[in-house]
Amino acid sequence: MSFYRALSIRQKRTLWAWGFLAVPIIFYVVIRFYPTGNAMVLSFQSWNLLGDREWAGLANYRVLFSDPVFWQVFWNTFKYLLIGTPISLVISFFIAYHLDKVRFAHGFLRALYFLPFMTSAVAMAWVWRWFYQGVPIGLFNNMLASVGIGQVEFLNSTTNALPSILAPAVWAGLGFQVIIFMAGLRAIPRSYYEAAEIDGVSKWTVLWEITIPLLRPTIVFIVVFSSIGFLRIFDHVFNMTTNNPGGPLNSTKPLVLMIYETAFRSFDMGYAAAQTVVLFLILLVVSLIQLRILRDS
């Protein structure tokens, strides 16, 4: 106790701060950092989950980069990102911008948009899967048929399947993005708009020169968050293509699904770890590039 008393106020504070911080730090080291490091080591080894881990050097990466399926999957993953992020950004901003002006049933409408975000992705994927079935089961094809348009193969075509899976994924994330956008819109002082009104500039100018620039931090947040989400897409794809995961012909397979299959169907843990490391690097690079571009220019 005399040791504690001899400390200065600053030293005491530091001691307490580290005391409290120790709990999450230990937790993170054990649950996050150790497995992460372990996976990185594993990516240079070969392991079938039961036998001994054997050193394999760069063999896993060599196999990966020469695997045509990997490049197909790599490209798919970026398609999810490049189509999903801008579409969800524009739609959620459009909804938030208008919902912000609506007074009638405002809370109810907001809840309605938020609902998909709270719904289980698995349940949603299966409902959408039903939407996409052919006549007489699927909702969309029935609607098309009733106005005289031919059948569309949503999930069974190599070109349509990826956008068809992306649609519910975009829809599911929308509620969250709308809420964030609305909070951002609310944070802009009213007097900015009133000043613009007195200056007599058009609504379009206000939108592009006041609202959107002032929403920049919100936009950065949403872009980075939704990008990470799309790069890690898995449950929608897995559940909507269960009989042929990532099909048809790997046209919808994202990286996470490939990792899952390598690890838990082929039990090639080292190879799966190598894929995981590649995914991690993609996420890291994409996030850093976005932050660099979108931060204050």
């Binding site: 002082p189 007097s191 009133e194 000043a195 009104e197 007195i198 200056d199 007599g200 006041i210 002032l214």
Partner: protein
Amino acid sequence: MSDLALRNLVKSYDKTQVLHSINLDVADGEFVVFVGPSGCGKSTTLRMIAGLEEVTSGEIEIGGRVVNNLEPKERDIAMVFQNYAIYPHMTVRKNIGFGLRSSKLSKPEKEARIDEVAGILGMTDLLARKPAQLSGGQRQRVAIGRAMVRDPAVFLFDEPLSNLDAQLRTQMRLEIKKLHRRVGNTIIFVTHDQVEAMTMADRIVIMKDGHIQQVGTPDEVYHKPANTFVAQFIGAPSMNLLEGTVEDGAVSLTGGGSVPLTQVKVAEGRAVKLGVRPEDLHLATEGDTLFEGEVSVAEPLGAETLLYVTLAGREIIATGPGRNPPKAGDHVRLSADPAQMHVFDAETGAVIA
């Protein structure tokens, strides 16, 4: 011609009426200050003139045309907001230029206009900066610049100085007044600070609860207040109000004492309030004592000392000398020139003249 007129102006929110038939004429080039406690309707009136709030009934005329149904941009006005409303992501030049966005001037003309305004406001060196790199006073000037650049018929200021510290406020007060003298546009200025109103205005409009209490020059509202509200609102410290009744040509004060009534004739027995400004109430010399009491607190201000004197169970404020003033606990005799006193009706608060 850029005079402004308010005719029977009324504003209601649902069933709550917040402005009750405001009538006011403002001459071209006049500096009019709306002053009153919060919730008195001064900002609402300003926002109605600006076109940010709809008129419930009555008319607003700017330069001889009724503008009730005109958009703000069509009214030939500019406004400076309390939080300045300058855009943090734009440079000073772009912020000032924003006021010209809808104007039909050519680009070089606009640039020349921005430079001219920046020159008048002494911020030519700051044009490339962003608001975050400016001090409070400089931001304020940008906001004024954005209003000036449009050369409007009427400038509207909504409590523009209340976010500044005391010293800067005094300085900006002076700058705005000089600016007015230089550009000569009509200015409507809203504030809750009576010192700002007194120092800047050509005419002051004192409001309370959605009614105009008095309109007059600073001199008029100070020396001839129309009622007890104006009397106590204008001037710091506030005017002392002493209750009494008129007896034998003098006011017999409640709680003792009597003050001769020389300035006005009031019917015998009428209940009145006698108003005396603290600076008119000073230590008595021989023989002219009006009141006697004990000093409860003495506040030295340097040039003078405010004396809080307990007098027949109530406190009044008097002024003592800056040197060797009475101390708390001292017994003092006070006197005032009856001609400097104001007589108000005890019930309505209206001045009796």
